[in-house]
């Protein structure tokens, strides 16, 4: 057994900066996937046919294929049509679009579950269709979706690691750079596993606290 | 406490089916059974009444060890049920064999939903008693006849009414040929019009001299069917006696107020 963790300690700044990028990417991908997911869900349920059908196909397609394959499509596809964007942005887009499909699926389910009784109640009070949607259905649907959305965010944070494959400079890629210098793959990968574990724990705890706080307000 | 050999001999001879001696149980800080003594003779029908929290269900469930007791002794026909000194696999083997002699009927029926009515009844005789399938089928069909549900043999519990489910549950318990039947509020979860069919079955059992211990809210039924009634209140047996005496002329104040409240509700 041949362990030597000193290169890891020596390269902590790289690991920290990698972690920073990971969090940055996760945050923006999360925002994109949540907002986008809600928009897509609303469009598929209430929008015009020409928009809703392709979007339903989008959800089905992106939930039924691996993230990595989608990233290859985005990465090579953008290059094909001549669009050059920094890897970081490609990463955020790829991750964000992937989870947009999952979140849209969740929002569709919660919107439909709220819609039934609530719509009748609101409409009989005299609220118009758009108002009913906006003031009654959407807020409740979002609230009901929170636990599952939270779960998705936890999974997404771990999936940022896959972005290393298309050259996004997050934690794994940064670590791999140092591995190629020091030839200590095991030690570095264990170190980043520990970092991910801690990040995961922090995210889970924050989400739990957030949910509890919301329940208190209700 | 040491097992007293002489006691078991006396129990067998005297026709004493259940001997409950100074049973105590607490749930954490709360003492639920404060030293209960009860003797049930072979063939005797005993009803236990009392408000919720009086400990009556806990007492019943202690008899077949679904609840463990903190101190005291429980004897079934000369066999000791609770064994504080036995542990692990030895105790498990002991309690499994003791339980074969007791049948329990639950408020929530607890039929096995993945099995047909017939399978519910014959599962235990086949798997535990090792009865051959044709023999067990014949025997269990007779039991279903007895409770009036032979035509539902191949139905799943989900398609039965509450009263039907409970009758199947009774047949299931009877299939093991128990020495005593324990009824834990058997009709409390039933719609009023379904209660009578279950009461009929229970009356039939009583008529056939099955030893029965019945925890119930149904005063009229208890009055009709029991030989002996126990009124429990806050973990003690407040009063006991034959129904003719307890229901019409209770001695204790608490018994009087409980019966009064109950008659007002009914």
């Amino acid at each position: 057994m041949n362990f030597d963790f000193t290169p890891v300690w020596e390269n902590i700044p790289t690991l920290i900066s990698g972690t920073g990028y990971t969090l940055f990417i996760a945050l923006f991908a999360a925002i994109l996937s949540l907002v986008g997911g809600l928009v897509v869900a609303l469009t598929t349920l209430y929008g015009k046919k020409i928009f809703s059908s392709p979007l339903r196909l989008f959800i089905w397609l992106f939930m039924g294929t691996p993230l990595l394959l989608q990233l290859y499509l985005l990465y090579f596809g953008l290059g094909q049509v001549g669009i050059l964007i920094p890897a970081l942005l490609t990463g955020i887009l790829g991750l964000g679009i992937h989870y947009m499909a999952y979140n849209a699926d969740i929002f569709r389910a919660t919107l439909q579950s709220i819609d039934n009784g609530q719509t009748e109640a609101a409409r009989s009070l005299g609220f118009g269709r758009m108002q009913t949607l906006w003031f009654f259905i959407v807020p409740q649907a979002i609230y009901r979706a929170l636990p599952q959305l939270g779960n998705n965010m936890i999974i997404m944070l771990k999936d940022t690691s896959v972005l290393s494959v298309i050259g996004v400079s997050e934690l794994v890629l940064n670590a791999q750079f140092e591995i190629s210098n020091t030839f200590r793959p095991f030690e570095f990968y264990i170190a980043i596993a520990v970092i991910y574990y801690i990040l995961n724990l922090m995210l889970e705890t924050s989400l739990n606290l957030f949910e509890k706080k919301l329940e208190g307000k209700r | 406490m040491m097992e007293d050999q002489p006691r078991s001999d006396t129990n067998k001879n005297s026709g004493l089916m259940l001997d409950i001696i100074n049973v105590k149980k607490s749930f954490g800080e709360l003492e639920v059974l404060k030293g209960i003594d009860l003797q049930v003779q072979r063939g005797q029908i005993v009803s236990i009444i009392g408000s919720s929290g009086s400990g009556k269900s806990t007492l019943l469930r202690s008899i077949n060890h679904l609840e463990t007791i903190d101190s005291g002794e429980i004897w079934l026909d000369g066999m000791r049920v609770n064994q504080p000194d036995m542990k692990g696999l030895a105790f498990e083997r002991h309690i499994n064999s003791v339980r074969q002699n007791m049948g329990m009927v639950f408020q929530q029926f607890n039929l096995f939903p993945h099995l047909t009515t017939l399978d519910n009844v014959r599962l235990a005789p086949i798997k535990i008693k090792g009865m051959a399938k044709p023999e067990a089928t014949e025997y269990c069909m007779e039991l279903l006849e007895k409770v009036g549900l032979a035509d539902k043999a191949d139905t799943f519990p989900a398609h039965l009414s509450g009263g039907q489910k409970q009758r199947v549950a009774i047949a299931r318990a009877l299939a093991m040929q128990p020495k005593v039947m324990l009824f834990d509020e058997a009709t409390s979860a039933l719609d009023p019009e379904l209660v009578e069919e279950v009461n009929q079955v229970m009356k039939q059992l009583a008529h056939e001299h099955m030893t029965m211990l019945i925890v119930t809210h149904e005063m009229n039924f208890a009055n009709e069917v029991s030989d002996h009634v126990l009124f429990m209140d806050q973990g003690v047996v407040c009063e006991q006696g034959p129904p003719s005496q307890l229901f019409t002329n209770p001695k204790e104040e608490r018994t009087k107020s409980f019966l009064k409240k109950h008659l007002e509700q009914q």
Partner: protein
Amino acid sequence: MDFTLMWEITPLLLKAAWVTVTISVMAFILGLFVATVLVIMRSSSFRIIRWPARIYISVMRGTPFFVQLLIFYYGGSAFGINLDAYMAGLLAMGLNIGAYMSEAIRGSLVAVDSGQNEASRSLGFSRTQTMISVILPQAAGLMIRSLGVLSVILIKGSSLVSIISVVELTYQAQRIISSTYKPFEVFAVSAVLYLILIYGVISFVDWLYNRYTRYLFH
């Protein structure tokens, strides 16, 4: 859309898809073994047996699968072991999914009403007989569903073993894209294959679930 290309690459991608299928199936079986061991460990009365299982599950679920895969493949050098890519991939997949499966199995067992256990024990059934004849058949329905969901996750996760050069579907797709510069066509065919696999599994699981729980229906 270059349909000729799509036609030409299909046999190649089909062959690679078969690798995806085989590695996923084997990882599923390995996962079941791991999960069974974990469930038994977690129900032990001894803390010294329960705790390692809990830690294992927490770590496997709290760190990215990709990182676990890299540890298995590259990390072996620290121990003097060199696993080939397929074995490393299979092991990583099985050990990872096993942790999730154990939680799914436990969840299904716990979901069975406690009255069932009481009724069975009061008839005189032992703990083991109760588990086999009463609890397990009822938990199976839920288990089928959860394990079905995990199978889909497994298939999508298999795409990551392409990174360590296992010639499965995503690997082959990436190679073809790199040599033909036609990401959309390659994505289209690969996506169809993944969709067939995934929605095939979903339909199978639904059918199995319906068969198994017909006692609940009229």
